[in-house]
Symmetry: C2
Amino acid sequence: MNLTPSSVKSDMLKLGEAAYQASAEIRRARTSVKNAALIAIGEEIISSRDTLMAENEKDLVVGRKQDIGDALLDRLTFNDARFDTMVEGLHQVAALDDPVGQVSDMSYRPNGLQIGRMRTPLGVIGMIYESRPNVTVDAASLCLKSGNAVILRGGSEAIHSNLALAQCIRSGIGRSGLPAASVQIVEVTDRAAVGELITMSRYVDVIIPRGGKDLIERITREATIPVIKHLDGVCHVYLDDGADPVRGSDIAFNSKTNRYAVCNAMETLLVANSVAATTLPDLARRLLDAGVELRGCPQTRKILAGMAVSEATEADWYEEYLGPILAIRVVSGLDQAISHINQYGSKHTDTIVSEDFTRIRRFCQEVDSSSVIVNASTRFSDGFEYGLGAEIGISTDKLHARGPVGLEGLTSQKYVVFGDGQLRS
Amino acid sequence: MNLTPSSVKSDMLKLGEAAYQASAEIRRARTSVKNAALIAIGEEIISSRDTLMAENEKDLVVGRKQDIGDALLDRLTFNDARFDTMVEGLHQVAALDDPVGQVSDMSYRPNGLQIGRMRTPLGVIGMIYESRPNVTVDAASLCLKSGNAVILRGGSEAIHSNLALAQCIRSGIGRSGLPAASVQIVEVTDRAAVGELITMSRYVDVIIPRGGKDLIERITREATIPVIKHLDGVCHVYLDDGADPVRGSDIAFNSKTNRYAVCNAMETLLVANSVAATTLPDLARRLLDAGVELRGCPQTRKILAGMAVSEATEADWYEEYLGPILAIRVVSGLDQAISHINQYGSKHTDTIVSEDFTRIRRFCQEVDSSSVIVNASTRFSDGFEYGLGAEIGISTDKLHARGPVGLEGLTSQKYVVFGDGQLRS
């Protein structure tokens, strides 16, 4: 499609208006109706298998022609296992408790007023993401279940796959009786559509971007609507004084090598000076054997003399490698570890390996990250592992949702006040 | 002072850097130390009475010369009663539970990980407000108690009063041993200082503006830091079918006339058609007698024929009068009342007067406002009345804090995870 900016604008405003109207209905929809919609979407995906595969192939043909790379092509590819995962995800979200309308902290005030807080949907969510078409289904299901309307804007490289999934979603929603505009996909691939979406404050309540740092920085800079975002994951493991070398090594190794291209992988290892000489050589050997490139501070390089460890620069401490590279720094102890994490980290997830109660207590209090972990892999920082049932992303912001964002993060709380005629004097 | 923009910028960056450093200390300060600081600030205010009065007089002289009006002059004026109120406020905040470090929802996952959420300070808060110097003390105390550093930017008309209060705050904080930069006041009255404050995302975590709609709109538009804001309070009282005329009339009268210039005063009265003829005449008479100007829909004017009721225009439904004016609309019933509130309201506070369980249930669920009240005055929407102990403002945003914002709204929650060597497979 090749639209002029003004027609993009009017198209987007139409989507916004429709989403806004739909949100008034879906906010009060019964849980059973929302669940029925989720199950129906899954059925539509299964019965539309051939169409989905054919539309997906169109994206793959373009992708191969444009040489987008094997990794991206792989993420883009549909197959039966991925359909099963999508459908399973829909069933899992259907099985979760509905947060909408939950009342908490209800109690009486001295004047007889009862005051509590009720969970409500946010309204209309604008979701902007790249590549993986399964995000289309995940995001739609979480937004639906939490009573929000959603406008989805996937990457242009997945446009055919996403539109085909949108058709399944629309059919499923239609069968449940919810308004079709509860979930809408932006069909315009023009980048101006994103510019419109993130400034339609009249219709859209929150923007959730998922993708590369460039995309998220641009959206944060240009959005006039609140953004729930996750910029990057510069995660640390700190091996404290007295940390068991085997446990420390296992946690560090798992945090780095379990998966490389994920935001909760360790990017920098901090080691207390007192355990560096006993722990680092074996651990470094394991990492090098696994194909991880090591970059160390002078002290690290001294301890690992003879091994392939290049010199870490200041820039390395800020780096989210998302790959088999690890920065290593020997620190004097807890204080320096905490300062390093708060200065260079991205407030995502940081682990301490320690048995010292007082230092663990300080680490938990003073590390200013969305997840602070004691004696376990950073890789556990994840909505499923935390028992949220699903996640729409991991927030490194401090306001509203922090850490893995599930259904609760897609709602807010309003006050409800019950009286019997109270007047203010 | 008459600074060039570049020196304003460097002055503000210095404040930001100092606040950021201080926040690392105050975030881990003990409750007893923070409370001691609050009590000490109160003592400094009492012992600095004469200086405060003298500095306040400087502002009043300028204010009278600039003819800022009696209302503003009154809000600006110090006296013993106001000092007492400030000190009492400090003691009240000291008596509140410390939210920092509170752990909730801690439970075991099947793999033995314990996962919970810990309340943490936001970091550095930028507070921008107009006129009333008591906000200086209120905001400082709430930010201190919640473990945040704060940069305060009051109105230029109160600059001498605010700087004198700042001196008391600094002395009080100094006596407790907390870093002096925990609370800083912007001494530069140049407007460019605000522009800097709301874009120093490196140092400032959240902006809280308090003041007129113009100020808040400007800040929201220009800030690159998250804003917790309250734009306006277009509050409604809806008298439902079957509403008791006396109770309905009392609640409406109190919601309008208890105080005019406050955000939780009623601005539009909605009356179900079935009770309009029996309720409106007496209520209108009371309001007119109290000096309230009435603007009605055609139906209202018909029922109140002979009384001084002008015609309400479309613009009236959006209006926050903040004064003795009331818009009145007769609606067909609950559905129209809810649509009216969600369309024209400001998502602040709305009351239904009713005995009908099913309609009350719908009103609570479907009205998308920060406070939904049943059978009580809108005037109760307030941090003190809700038992928060104090409030830094009332948020009409949906993300993060909604409604009256107390200590909890000045904190966020991070995940804490305790393990004994768990690795991800």
